[in-house]
Symmetry: C2
Subunit: 207 residues, 2 copies
DNA sequence: GACTAAATACCAACCAGTCGGTATGTTCAT
DNA sequence: ATGAACATACCGACTGGTTGGTATTTAGTC
């Protein structure tokens, strides 16, 4: 019921607002009031749902990760039969969503961990978990592609998956420095070339 | 005279302190008093030398860049005759200095721009300039290596140099998330493999 | 009426920046 | 060389606004 004005619940709206504002301003510079204003609530509501600003940050990291996993799970590339195709299509997908305003395509986890790694261990851990979990998913396809096309390679699938995340994080940093997404897409295209170079495909299937 | 107790002047000491503290805590979370305490001065001295906290950040970005250029200029790899050797030795040097506590090897520019790109244009610009200038230096050797070993490659020297910086920035982010330098060095070793793959060396010189 | 959700009002701590003051030169005319 | 005038370097108390967090109250719902 009340289908027309249905909105996510307050907690979710606060988390969404936090995601946006923190990616634009950073964690420390973002005040609780900033988040409340963006979400359309007051402080009372905020501290009803979160016991502290740090608590919100940890929840926001999980929220962001969940949102990202939903996004990637819905992407069409999972249907591809060849695991290497899936890996490359993942890269292409990452490149394709690097567009528009920086806060919308940059990574909340990378943004927060950069500031908070030393002073807020709980936030550091939440960001690490998010990145590690996502990388593990990518590593699955890489592992399968490796078994097919580069079984004897010296690098591990997980290490390559983490490298992929590092390139993306670095690409976001450069995009912020240069105030635009182009440089980030250029970085991803280098990453794609690297991955292609790691998996020498047979010219054709007969063999 | 008074050579035994000679210290850098107050401005330099404040900039050094800012470099350390901001890399550990981030820009927003660092207070002017934090920097003064670290440098052994009071607020009066601080605002005598810098007109605002933002002004200090801009100066610190330039200071950090200058320090970095000194460090790299002193590195031995510049003497290598082959430009590709110089590029690879640069990468190895970058890897070698990724050690010890994170604030000591991470990049002030990447840390600050991540937080401040949208809210402090002057800081964003200072960080961009630092990164761009350093990348341009690396691009020189890449350009020469390209002329020798990959003259027809599709990528530009500058684009590869910027990619190199992106990988390093991303490596720092992952090091922060994982609380240690190992992952960052692993990333750099992927980067090295990529660069090697871009410059197919002749087996030997006779040709 | 018991419970949850959210608003309002408030507080103590904190922070960037100011200001008046001291100490130590430096310049230069006498 | 001396002392008036000025400049530079630094100190530390203070301020006005902000911030994370709390206490209390109100509205709605099972």
């Amino acid at each position: 019921m009340n289908a027309t004005t249905t909105q996510p619940d307050a907690r979710t709206r606060l988390l969404d607002a936090a995601m946006q504002v923190i990616r634009a301003q950073g964690y420390s510079a973002t005040t609780v009031d900033d988040i409340c204003r963006e979400a359309g609530f007051t402080k009372g509501a905020f501290f009803h749902h979160f016991k502290s600003k740090e608590d919100l940050a940890v929840a926001a990291a999980a929220h962001f990760s969940a949102m990202a996993e939903t996004l990637f799970a819905a992407a069409p590339y999972h249907a591809l039969p060849d695991p290497l195709d899936r890996v490359l299509a993942y890269i292409d997908f990452r490149s394709a969503i690097i567009d528009g305003p920086i806060p919308q395509f940059s990574c909340l986890l990378g943004t927060m961990v950069q500031e908070a790694y030393d002073t807020h261990p709980a936030i550091r851990k939440a960001c690490d978990t998010g990145i590690r979990t996502h990388a593990a998913g990518v590593a699955n396809d890489i592992e399968a592609a490796k078994a097919l096309y580069a079984p004897d390679a010296a690098w591990s699938a997980l290490s390559l998956a983490l490298y992929t995340q590092a390139v993306l994080q670095g690409a976001f940093v450069l995009a912020k420095a240069k105030s635009g997404p182009e440089i980030a897409r250029e970085c991803v295209s280098h990453l794609r070339r690297y991955i292609e170079s790691l998996f020498p495909r047979p010219i054709n299937k007969e063999d």
